[in-house]
Assembly symmetry: C2
Homo-oligomer: 330 residues x 2
């Protein structure tokens, strides 16, 4: 889908013009197929949940903190915002069915930028099989995007962070560290290798991985958004278990090795602490065969609750790293 170029800003387009642009991306046929009784355009959306429970998550993305408009196109930023939020719904064992989008933008924002953002956002929603259910647009001093993702799941089948048991296998679906490498490359003023930069710009998410893991008997699950160590630690704390990750089992793409060498870094540091890839990490009973797409990266231990080991050693002893990203840190 292309947008006609223009030099107009949101001050020219107006709130109703921007809303019309967004509504144009809502497919009536898709919406009716999802059990939606009232779609976007009224005070609220109304829908039949397909399962007996609804799964809900919200994420916020701020210009200069989560994305930069000189590093990513509007389409890429739209895709990334949709993807990151939908990954949370997957990490409960559900699949995303709907999204709510709240956007704050300065009135000096180019209308084309706003329109292309919506194109990317709805493209990624379509990849996951989700529809835009509603939203809000607002004047704001900076670009801020808030995305609410909705899924459904049968009662009692949601996979939390709290069910891992000693002996369980830790499996991952998707890559870790690629987005962090891409971010480092962009920060240094470079724009390639593309495979790493693209991993930061638009995470590639297997939206059915969480549901496969749940069906495959996953005992705990999370998506990597803060960093592998930080997110695995969430499982360790929630489940009152320890985790031992085996770096020999990590997938080490050649691009990651080369880029790390160029920066004088260990590629494992990106894999262990990089966020934004939104790979799904789940734990499985020891005798279970891992679901398609999942590979083993470690084991749950019963030794010391909430402790994360890397190759048998507490990560803080070997790796002088923060386990992942934290907001508000200086």
């Amino acid at each position: 889908m292309s947008l006609e170029p223009s030099s107009n800003t949101l001050a020219d387009l107006g709130e109703s013009g921007l809303v019309a642009k967004i509504l144009a991306h809502i497919s009536e046929s898709t919406v009716s197929a999802m059990g939606v009784e009232v779609a976007a355009g009224d005070d609220a959306a109304v829908l039949h949940p397909g399962g007996s429970c609804v799964v809900l998550s919200v994420d916020m993305y701020a210009e200069g903190k989560h994305f930069r408009t000189d590093w990513s196109t509007a389409v890429e930023i739209g895709r990334r915002c949709a993807a990151g939020s939908m990954a949370d719904v997957c990490a409960m064992g559900s699949t995303p069915i709907g999204l709510l989008l709240a956007v704050g933008m300065p009135s000096t924002t180019a209308s084309d930028w706003a329109g292309e953002f919506i194109v990317g956002f709805t493209q990624e929603a379509e990849v996951a099989g989700a529809v835009l259910l509603g939203g809000d647009v607002s004047d704001c001093d900076t670009i801020v995007i808030s995305v609410t993702a909705l899924g459904t799941i049968a009662s009692g089948t949601a996979v939390t962070r709290n069910g891992a048991r000693a002996g369980d296998i830790v499996g991952i679906c998707g890559s870790s560290g690629m987005a962090a490498a891409g971010l480092r490359i962009l920060q240094s003023g470079l724009r390639s290798p593309r495979v790493l930069v693209d991993a930061f710009r638009v995470p590639r998410i297997d939206y059915s991985a969480g549901a496969r893991a749940a069906k495959g008997g996953a005992t705990a699950m999370i998506d990597i958004s803060d960093g592998l160590l930080a997110d695995v630690e969430h499982i360790a704390r929630g489940s009152h278990v320890g985790v031992d990750l085996s770096t020999e089992k990590f997938d080490l793409p050649q691009e990651l090795i080369s880029a790390a060498a160029a920066f004088g870094l260990d590629p494992l540091s990106w894999i262990l602490t990089g966020g934004d890839d939104h790979a799904i990490v789940a734990t499985f009973p020891p005798k279970k065969r891992l679901p398609t797409g999942f590979t083993e990266i470690g084991r749950i231990t019963g030794d010391k609750a909430a402790e994360v080991l890397v190759d048998g050693v507490p990560y803080r002893e070997r790796w002088n790293v923060a386990p992942g990203f934290r907001h508000f840190s200086q």
Copy 2:
């Protein structure tokens, strides 16, 4: 509830500290009573909807656009953000049961301010009978709040903007124009009369009004957030009918008359165009008795679709006003 004063900022408190502050306001007992299977703290919340349909709405509030920290306390801003979003769920005929909260704040924000905002937010949620289901916190150059409100409703009973018919009575529950007067007073540097300023700071919403209207046979419904004329026009457009508002039926509080006189304004201009009161406007079949709390302010006409009259005259002919607030306008 009071917070111990401190000079700490979010940079000192950190993301996990702010999240802990928020989680402390989530009552376990309330959550379990609402059919929540997984509450805040995991990737997503999971809940049984009490009705057969879920009702979902999102709103965004930006510093300097929707609120000013020198005009309102953090508690008031928290209450207002929760209230405005829950009003949308009410305007479908539902009652709010849950909220998701995404907050973006600069790391220089006082931790106390953030904590008091959460106090106000959860206070207002409690007034409505809703619980905080989850959220996200993020570093941002300005304070931005995104609120997703959730309700449930029996299938087929949601009241949209599209069902008004010629001859229907237009009823209102709650005041209109008070918040606009309060905003005008604050803009002029004054801080009283309090009843008007407070109406802007924290709208007082009857959270069961929408459900009463739905039970009472409402044919269309909306909450006033843009302005009475603008929002009634949404019903007129959606329902392909005209609306004739009768100003003689408007409630004209003495404080509104006095404040308007002080500014040399007609108080009706505030009532007709002021947003942010979140009164509920609904249309009812002509022979129906209006539900408790609703008073008649006009009639639906079949003359000219989408036209809004005031005392029989198109409002643009008599009132040199925009029908309500629009973002991005200069």
